[in-house]
Symmetry: C2
């Protein structure tokens, strides 16, 4: 385990992959390795890509990888599949893509599914982005189905957020767009050869016009990703967004990302500490009391907080 | 504020609605009210309904409400829309349904969108379920787009979990189904009049057959909810699932729900306490240090945990 960070910084892809697995498995020692990587981070351009299942976002991401590779840029991808809380399996499409790019040293794809950790998927996502960034990838793409709160936040904190939709998924999608509009820097209507594409574009533009006058520009683009149509325009829109972001806005997103990283690291660490302070049986024993209605969840939380505070602080532990 | 719990227990719907709002707004005092409700909970049958946007799950839920009402049962619904982390707005379909059931005292519908609380949407969901249960609703339906980790967990912990899909959403959906299969007690192929319904049913049954021999039975049903087709069969399947769950399995789900409640209450409470212990500027000040790469998120988390432990425990506070 020791030395994985150094090896990853030196460009050892297998060491980086091992470190990601160790982090995901919460192996002892992996966090210390990650800390060594942290000073080397902050250089990658982070793209967030989200969209419902069936919108073809993997195909769009594939094209983005191809364009960045043509420019000689190194690309890291983290694909988030939060629908499998128990299996921890990789997603189907990802395996296919791994094969397609398997001969290209300039592309590194890692898929994440939660394994029921207390801290959850967003911490694992931060970890993978940190490793991909420190490895020297120029661009890191975060791809997610993104209708869960954590996933939406991850995409919202990217340098550029792309939301992909398709024509005619019904009224429910219309309602969802209202929420997704708030995080999109660029809106893509994929499968634009289908009936209803014009209307979807008009609807989106209409919703954008309802925003406050000072709201930043959001471009609405059409793509037919299966045929590569509209990809040049998408790349140009990303470039325009990148160039148009002021220093203040860039700093605000950097702080937003850092806040999410601290919060998610803290969330997991605090729960671990509370579980340890809970005594024999841990949180499960307390949950059994709640299930039996002998206490309520909020009283239980107060008791655990008090127990945590009563615990002696560890000697010589901690990172500072 | 005082007395809302008592009023809600006595059947005052407006008091219950006010308490839900106060809880969602994290009003001081609201938690104490909730604690008073807790002993009156545990009697409602909790149904979880999840499916991607556009699968028509709201229409299915509407039919379930109608059938339960026909039996004279009181129904509470919590509709979760996690896609709007910033607006906090109610979802469109919900407003429409509110009107439809607005003259029926036996139906109470509440929609939830996250407002960026540290603890997140799942805690708010637990709170609403607690109030709906304590109010004396016989059935509580949790409806969510459910591809985020927290939302999936909420549905998985219900007495009966229904996963709704539609024919032919492509390969990505196939991959997702593999995850969703693990939480479904009943699988519904809605819009079954469409091409490809047979194949979707066969695919789902095929995937179910791959599970271990001892895995519980999962029925696959077809509905055309817009025409009310297949709803009787769905109700019968819910009844069969309900009747077939053994005492051990029911107790396990109860503990699973209680564990999630404790964890989510704790998650929020611990983050609040850590933010208070962080000193001036709170978590934001520490995030700024991380953004400037002066520290890393994990070292920051350790520092905050140490600060939290160093804090004197509150005198006379806590619920036990």
């Amino acid at each position: 385990m020791a030395g994985l960070a150094k090896a990853a910084l030196a460009g050892d892809v297998r060491a980086a992959a091992q470190l990601m697995r160790d982090l995901d498995d919460r192996q002892p020692g992996a966090l210390q390795e990650l800390r060594e990587l942290y000073p080397a981070t902050g250089r990658a351009y982070v793209l967030g890509v989200t969209g419902n299942p069936g919108t073809g976002k993997s195909t769009v991401v594939d094209w983005l990888i191809e364009r960045y590779r043509r420019q000689g840029q190194r690309v890291g991808v983290v694909a988030i599949d939060p629908t499998s809380p128990f299996s921890g399996g990789a997603i189907l499409g990802d395996r296919i893509r791994m094969q397609r790019h398997s001969t290209d040293d300039g592309v590194f794809i890692r898929s994440l599914a939660t394994r029921g950790h207390l801290g959850g998927l967003s911490r694992s996502t931060h970890d993978v982005v940190t490793v991909l960034d420190a490895m020297g990838n120029d661009v890191v793409i975060i791809e997610t189905v993104g209708v869960g709160q954590d996933e939406v936040e991850v995409v919202a904190a990217a340098h550029t957020s792309i939301v992909i939709t398709v024509p005619g998924l019904g009224d429910e999608v219309q309602a969802i767009k209202a929420g997704i509009l708030e995080i999109a820097d660029i809106l893509v209507v994929n499968k634009a050869e289908r009936d209803g594409a014009d209307r979807t574009v008009r609807d989106l533009q209409g919703m954008l016009e309802l925003r406050p006058r000072e709201a930043p520009t959001v471009e609405v683009l059409r793509t037919v990703a299966t045929r590569g149509e509209g990809i040049d325009e998408l790349c140009a829109a990303i470039e325009r967004h990148h160039a148009g972001v002021g220093a203040a806005q860039a700093a605000a997103r950097r702080r937003q990302r850092a806040f999410a990283e601290v919060r998610d690291a803290l969330r997991e660490r605090l729960l671990e500490a509370a579980a340890a302070a809970a005594g024999p049986g841990g949180l499960e024993a307390i949950a059994a009391e709640v299930a039996a209605r002998r206490t309520d969840p909020y009283s239980a939380a107060e008791r655990l907080l008090a127990a945590l505070r009563g615990t002696d602080p560890p000697r010589g532990a901690g990172g500072c």
